[in-house]
Amino acid sequence: MSKTAAAHAKNLPQPARTADATRAPATPPAGEKPRLIRFIIPLAAFVAIAAVLGVGIKNSGTVGEIKSPLVGKPAPNWSLPVLDQPGRTFGSKELAGKWYVLNFWGSWCFACKDEHQELLKISSSSSVPIIGVDWRDDDGSARNFLDTLGDPYATVATDHDGRVVVDWGVYGAPESFLVNPEGVVVYKKIGPITPEEWNKNFASRLPPGLSDRKS
């Protein structure tokens, strides 16, 4: 250690005045300016962080809500058995060239019950077919559900092993997708469809005539 000290004895730093406790770079007094700026760094960094947090608050309504990567892309091909029609399958092939709403639901899902009224209204007032995908349900309960509450679906497909659910990136029931005649997913709604939701995001995207009363 004494060797180092001896070596340094040759380059004695400037007088004590400029030797700061923690930032003594041994530069001449002209180095004061950059030294002082170092003390502003914490404050500047904090302001930047506060700004990010502020923006975070603005966006906090949507935190965790991820934009679906499927929107704007071709819908996945799918084909599923139809409820109470053994041997028959139904899927994207049968729906090619048509607008349709794909609605994932289940008889075990509380919010689906709430949404059901709205779906019934939509199916009676517009000519866009609502295709139901019954998720992980047993057919008896599903049939019960529809008999009791009404059936707004043009067709009910059953997804017993959840393949189609994952293929469409579904988060939970109920969830609905709007698909155009070219087979592209135009819109995704997580949660129950409300009347405002239908008008604002679904009906507005449909060509005039489809969302009206059936002729």
């Binding site: 250690m1 180092t4 000290a5 904090f46 975070g56 935190v63 934009k67």
Partner: protein, 657 residues
């Protein structure tokens, strides 16, 4: 009537806090000694009012007063008394009240325990604390009033969240918040020093016990939280790098740096700006943590229900408090100088690296936690950051740090004289590596490099921490509490490192499905379902399973996991059956009834997990031991004796060997 009384008390408390802040900061500046004394009275009054408010709310809980909205939202007529009381901090409004109570409490303790410090300085400290109290009280009264009434009163409450109906709830938040809020004391001491324009380092000596106490409480609080969530949930581990967990970890990392930096500033007058900044940073991170939990800005299982208005209000308070402190820092820090020198291998050098590496670790955790926010702010869409990021990036600065602890602990102040300890250093290292290899290869028959490295580092720290105390005792020298505490705390660190090094690679977790009489092999153990039965609790009905665990044919223990259905909230909660066998946790959680008497279950084997709780406990113990050292109780109302001048006879006598 009582809620109104509580509400009124809260308003009075806020006014008193405002007075406390005003008198405390303006009084000394204008040299009005009457105002300086008034600060103490204001602080006392604030504590009384806050305690009254808390008392009112607690009584509303105890008396099932469902006309108070907060009580209706967090209680129920079937809720046991113990949880009715702890429900006080079960949600946002009440937990804020707890924070305020603890802040008032710390303030009172500071006022009482600083009799020997200069009055004006203490007044400034209380003034800064009063400013913080005022901010929190204002925020609470405006956005989060716990005394809001329901008109008409609810017929019954919707019950406390079942997950919170657990003894862990009673202990974790108060202890954790005590730590968080304790950092405010260090913050206040630093602000007071800056307000006074102090250029010497006496404030560092004064701050040390407070910072150490806050750090020790924070250590306990974080550990309790980790223990509680691990023990309560049927799945998951003890640390998930969740944003809220990180929010408590960052102040802890900075707090650790702070107590070490304070030692250097106290001892040698060095690192004054570092220590100041760390004092400010510690509590700032506490505040940011508070913000993250309540603003809905991050995605976390721990978040309170999101509310952007509250988030904005906290952010404004954050900006004012931290912004002012950092501005003070930018103004005063350049005036702090020191002529002290030290060698490359001196203690100061090691502690400098300690500071830097801990701050880097905290900054990395901060970056990872903020990354999703930053990505969204820049319009880049969702970014997800989890354990696969935090683990390697955290280890990057921490592994070298752990090695430095074992070497630096031998270093002398100013001149390291490490050469004198070369034998001890190498011997402890060799022994630690040998033991690590023996444990990993022998006991666990594993071949994980990181496990060996971790075990060796942890063992090295423990052995190194024992060298000095053992030597002192052997030579009949004194072992002051500060040194004893330091050794205990470092040993605790080593124990924690060992625990994590064993747990990470050797934990076994498996999902199994068992019917009556069936068994499955998990790790080295055999789990066999004996049967299930129905049980009733105070506010739930449960199915309890009996499962025997055996190893090599011999029964080791029996576990009783439960699946509880709470009457009010209709939530099903899985209560794991857990036993600790020779330091290893055997844990079993019930899943679903698969029909025909078969149940899905998750079995976990966590080897030597007791060490994980023991380590931090020792760290906190060491901290408490160190801060009770006599030196903090000597009469030091004036500036410290400049170096080179003989100490007064009284002081020297106290430290006679």
């Amino acid at each position: 009537m009582r809620p109104e009384l509580g509400h009124f008390a809260l308003i009075l408390a806020m006014l008193l806090a405002g007075l406390q802040a005003f008198f405390g900061i303006v009084g000394p500046a204008l040299k009005r000694d009457r105002w300086v004394s008034a600060t103490m009275s204001a602080a006392a009054g604030q504590l009384v009012m806050v305690a009254t408010a808390v008392g009112c709310l607690v009584m509303s809980f105890v008396d099932f007063d469902f006309s108070v909205r907060y009580v209706a939202e967090n209680s129920n007529s079937a809720l046991p008394l113990f949880y009715r009381i702890t429900a006080l901090w079960g949600a946002h409004e009440g937990s804020l009240l707890l924070w305020i109570l603890l802040l008032a409490g710390w303030t009172a303790v500071v006022a009482i325990a600083t009799q020997r410090l200069p009055r004006r300085f203490v007044a400034r400290v209380l003034g800064v604390l009063g400013f913080l109290s005022f901010g929190f009280l204002l925020f609470t009264l405006i956005t989060s009033n716990p005394f809001l009434r329901l008109e008409p009163p609810a017929p019954d409450g919707i019950d406390l969240n079942p997950l919170l109906q657990d003894p862990g709830l009673a202990t974790h938040p108060p202890v954790l918040y005590t730590g968080y809020v304790g950092l405010a004391v260090a913050f206040a001491f630093a602000c007071a020093a800056m307000l006074e324009g102090k250029t010497d380092s006496s404030w560092a000596r004064w701050t040390r016990p407070w910072a150490t106490a806050a750090w020790a409480f924070l250590t306990c609080g974080i550990t309790l939280g980790s223990w509680w969530s691990y023990y309560t949930l049927g799945w998951g581990g003890f640390w998930a790098w969740d944003p809220v967990e990180n929010a408590s970890f960052m102040p802890w990392l900075v707090g650790t740096a702070l107590i070490h930096s304070l030692a250097v500033t106290d001892k040698r007058g060095l690192f004054k700006s570092w220590t100041l900044l760390l004092s400010l940073l510690g509590f700032s991170l506490s505040l940011v943590g508070t913000f993250l939990v309540r603003s809905g800005v991050t995605v976390s299982v721990h978040s309170f229900a999101a509310d952007p208005t509250r988030g904005t209000a906290i952010l404004i308070f954050l900006v004012i408090a931290i912004g002012a402190a950092l501005a003070l820092y930018a103004w005063r820090a350049p005036t702090l100088k020191s002529n002290a020198g030290f060698e490359l291998t001196a203690r100061e050098s090691f502690l400098l690296f300690n500071n830097i590496l801990l701050v880097i670790a905290a900054a990395t955790v901060f970056g990872g936690t903020m990354a999703p926010l930053i990505a969204e702010a820049l319009g880049q869409g969702a970014l997800s950051v989890g354990p696969p990021y935090f683990r390697p990036t955290f280890l990057l600065p921490i592994l070298p740090l752990l090695a430095l602890v074992s070497i630096g602990i031998h270093a002398g102040w100013k001149r390291g004289h490490l050469g004198d300890h070369a034998r001890a250093i190498l011997a402890t290292l060799a022994l630690a590596v040998a033991l690590a290899l023996a444990v990993v290869l022998g006991v666990f028959a594993g071949r994980h490099i990181l496990a060996v490295v971790g075990l060796a580092l942890g063992g090295w720290i423990i052995l190194s921490s024992l060298v000095d105390p053992i030597d002192r005792l052997r030579r009949h020298l004194s072992l002051p509490r500060s040194i004893l505490g330091m050794s205990i705390a470092h040993i605790g660190l080593g124990v924690a490192v060992i625990a994590i090094s064993i747990l990470e690679p050797f934990t076994v977790e498996r999902d199994i499905a068992l019917g009556n009489g069936q068994s499955a092999q998990v790790g080295a153990y055999d789990f066999k379902l004996i049967g299930t039965s129905n049980v009733e609790g105070p506010n739930y009905s449960a199915i309890r399973a009996e499962v025997t665990v055996s190893r090599n044919g011999r029964t080791v223990t029996t576990l009783f996991p439960e699946s509880r259905q709470f009457w009010v909230r209709k939530q099903t909660e899985s209560k794991a059956g857990m036993k600790n066998v020779h330091g290893t946790d055997l844990k079993l959680a019930l899943g679903d009834d698969l029909g025909a008497g078969r149940w899905s279950m998750r079995a976990q084997i966590r080897p030597m997990i007791t060490l994980l709780w023991l380590g931090p406990l020792l760290m906190a113990l060491g901290g408490f031991c160190a801060l009770s050292d006599r030196r903090y109780r000597t009469a030091r109302a004036t500036e410290p004796i400049p170096a080179g001048v003989a100490a007064p006879p009284g002081a020297a006598k106290e430290h006679a060997a």
